[in-house]
Amino acid sequence: MAIPAKDFVSLLQDVGFDFFTGVPDSTLGGIIATLIERRVYIPAVREDEAVGLAAGAYMGGKIPAVLMQNSGLGTSLNALISLNLIYLQPCLLLVSWRGHDGKDAPEHLVMGQVMTKLLDLVRIPHRTVRAETVREDVGWAGQVFMSQRIPVALLVPKGVFS
């Protein structure tokens, strides 16, 4: 059963996330609509820009989250490894898992297949969000954020949020 996007955003806000930026994906559409409605979303033009915005916001005292399609991980890679991982600047990466199970448009298939290996390779902890465990998933991400001060990814397959 899908989780209402509004409830998920409230969960993130309850945990303390108070700065949201990113580049849209259809899978994250409900979440972004909620963030815009609550006037807490800063739209970025590229995913690495969003990562930079989040890093600045973190140093300005915020708890940032970055939303993106997994194609944006490729765009963000240098920012994540030469900014966040070096300077210990944490953020939550809320990444839609396009190409999950090999079912998607052709441009998503390779990233869909290699995404978790890519994150492992660059040592960014990640977990796939499920409707049944969403509270634990967010709690885990918050814990990694606070204790390790590095980016932590929650991967969102299609259909988890309504």
Binding site: G16, D18, F19, T21, I42, P43, A44, V45, R46, D48, E49, A50, V51, G52, L53, A54, A55, G56, A57, Y58, M59, G60, G61, K62, I63, P64, N78, A79, I81, S82, L83, I86, Y87, L88, Q89, R149
Partner: protein, 199 residues
């Protein structure tokens, strides 16, 4: 012939003149030689020096500016950096943070990698910033003008964009002597410490 041939001010001199104007502003410096020069000229806890993630200085500065709307944020940037993430000019122009000052030292080359030419020899970056929606935009060639405009922009509401044409001459300066993780903490304290919101 280079369009800006005859520019005499070195970047280091121009940076030094701008640094003298600062009080409690939060400063984000782009990667490469500009960071090293600022560190050598006037290190302060309110300075954040980049060593990688080229192009992201204004994005980081914008994040700081949005998180700390009562603090003035100054981004010291280069032409190669601006060209690499020109989209961020649009993000700044659209959001219009009043506390954001973007100063670009334009030497028309990738100075940190051997002076290969950039497109700023022909592309007018300040016009891009103007079209993107920056409130105040100036382009200067003389040091006195740079100081005058920077002083004004530090006082007035932004976002402001100052393009300072400088020579290719680079000072022989060492690397930034602060560990990146320690710099994050130092800058974070400087940003949130003075009446700012703490997460």
């Amino acid at each position: 012939m280079r369009p800006e041939e005859g520019v005499l001010t070195s970047r280091s001199r121009a940076i030094g003149a701008v640094l003298e104007l600062l009080t409690d502003e939060l400063v984000v410096v782009c990667n490469g030689l500009p960071s090293r020069e600022v560190y050598a000229l006037r290190d302060r806890p309110e300075n954040f020096y980049m060593i990688g993630s080229m192009g992201l200085a204004p994005a980081i500065g914008l994040g700081v500016a949005l998180a700390q709307p009562r603090r003035k944020v100054v981004v010291l940037d280069g032409d190669g950096n601006v060209l690499m993430a020109m989209g961020t000019l649009a993000t700044v122009g659209a959001l219009k943070p009043r506390n954001f000052v973007h100063i670009v030292f334009d030497n028309e080359v990738y100075g940190s990698t051997g002076n290969q030419p950039t497109l700023s020899q022909t592309v007018r970056l300040e016009q891009v910033a103007k079209a993107a929606g920056y409130r105040h935009v100036e382009r200067v060639r003389e040091l006195d003008d740079a100081v005058y405009e920077a002083k004004t922009m530090l006082k007035e509401d932004g976002p402001s964009f100052l393009l300072v044409k400088v020579s290719e001459l680079a000072e022989d300066v060492g690397r930034v002597g602060i560990e990146p993780a320690a710099m994050t903490e130092r800058f974070r304290k400087a940003a949130v410490g003075v009446g700012g919101a703490v997460a």
